[in-house]
Amino acid sequence: MSARTIFTRPARRASVAPYIWMVLFFLVPFGFVLKISLSQTAIAQPPYLPLFGLTDGIAGLKAAFAALSLDSFWLLVSDNLYIASYGRSLVVALVSTALLLAIGYPIAYAMARLPRRWQGVAMMLVIVPFWTSFLIRIYAWINILQHDGLLNQILLALHIVSAPVVWLSTDSAMYLGIVYSYLPFMILPLYATLAKQDGALLEAAADLGASRLVAFWRVTFPLSLGGVGAGVLLCFIPIVGEFVIPDLLAGSDSMMIGQTLWLEFFTNKDWPVASALAIVLLALLIVPLLVYDRLQRRALEAR
């Protein structure tokens, strides 16, 4: 009820430095992405025609507007390659998120049912791999999945297969890598909501005649939807733009948008197209980003 106005002024002062930093290094750069995406490709260093400099004044600004070019965006819609990578990114993100939810939920549920003193340990165990390098964990899978890797050796030894199976450079390997890397991001928000649930609710449901399955479906699951939302967004959004995992584990015949952007930028040196790709990607993600922002705000600031 009380506004605690006494904290307002110190808080405002504390916000100055991070605020300026974030505007300068998070917000302003998007302006540059937009600007470059609207300029024309050039074979130069940097590889785009400058739109306007700060020194050119109004005349420069007018000239800049005249030189605005939607070429890069036209290219995106006219070339199937780009549409295909956006499509693939969305499909991969959707499938992976569904897999993550299906695998992460039972684990989070089991964690929340552990005796109190073990819950902390379990949470630690889930988080620790997240601290070890992302790249290393993908690399660890290459060790296992490669042609004469551990998995094939085991399968051969057990006579489950008669010849080595191609695992690496397949979609299955990529999905495995994504699920592996993002699992903690799915488990933690789920666990957080499930652990908060009052065990008496399930007892009440049982008392009122619900079977365990019904109690789960009618009580536990609906109450955990907040965590489900957070986990889904926490995984879905970055997976859409994922680069490392598809690059190292998937085949090279089709690319996700992150790979295409990387290729345009580093290999083809086409900065305007890379920027346009980023703008469109951002536009695709803006709704999930806003929803995520709301969830995050509610979780951290609601009191």
Binding site: M1, S2, A3, R4, T5, I6
Partner: protein, 385 residues
Amino acid sequence: MTTATDILPDAIAEAPLIVAAYPMPLLRVDGVSKKFGAFTAVDGLSLDIQAGEFFALLGPSGCGKTTLLRMLAGFETPDAGKILLDGEDIAAVLPHQRPVNMMFQNYALFPHLSVRDNIAFGLKRAALPKPEIAARVAEMVALVKLGGLEKRKPDQLSGGQKQRVALARALARRPQLLLLDEPLAALDKKLREETQAELMELQRRLGTTFVIVTHDQDEAMTMADRIGVMKDGRLEQVATPRQLYEAPASRWIAGFVGDINLIEGEVTLQDAHRLTVAAAGAGMLTVAEPKAPLPSRAICLAIRPEKIRLSRRAPTSAGGLNSIEGVVTEVGYLGGLSVYKVQLDHGATLRVALANTNRLDVDAYGVGQKVVAWFAPDDCVVLPR
């Protein structure tokens, strides 16, 4: 323009010109308001508290009592009005510059500091010399009987011990005014009663002015010299516990403080300091005329359950007493008291509390028993409706 200083000799001009006819109260709250958005927490409230008083702010939750306390402490700034402490307006003074200390509801003990460091915290800010700090901490520890626990951390203390540390910490700076926000709410009943007595004893010994916020009327009644009852950001009544109970200023106060029977009625006759009232469901009653003139003939009678007596037959010397016939419909045995619900023949229901003075059940009335309820005219309060 000619002023007093022009005419008077220097020596006199330097002396204070205005000498207070009666002592200024230690704290004067003057027309203070506070809004949070559209919600008015405190609404033009005025209040005087004298030095050395034990004052309780009582009210239901959301009545603004905590907001008022937080304005006294400096955590909220009033939107309007003045807060005068010793004649000086402190409404805009920051909390750390006020000679006022607060004991927080959840104690707000610093979890990373020991009992000793918690108590010494405010003394260190005042930059007192080290030996002085040590002496004061020792004095406080002795005062609240915490000897031997100085090195403990707050989470190694029981609820009652935490409460003492919070009290010692707030008193260590020797504030002119100590604010206590629901200081006993976290303690269980037995401990709460013991602590009430200790707080009163302490306050009397130190002479510090205490302002306590509570929603517990027993606590306020037991401890305070005066009680201010708040409702919707305003003071409904400021009075001693006895006045509050025996002479409530309004129907709301009467219902809020303690248990009471409220019967609406119409004044039919007024003479010799007696009113004759046609009471709804209770027949014709004779009651004492209130001091304040009544705004209308429509009134409300308020009578405490323990002021009513029961008997099987009408009292023989019924001169001047009101006696009404009825039937007992419910008996609640509370140990020291029994509470009877009596359905009057006229229709209304009265609650009657009788002390169980005999161990054996000689005088008790059972359900269905026909009884006569009677009370003296002076025991009934007449309130405007």
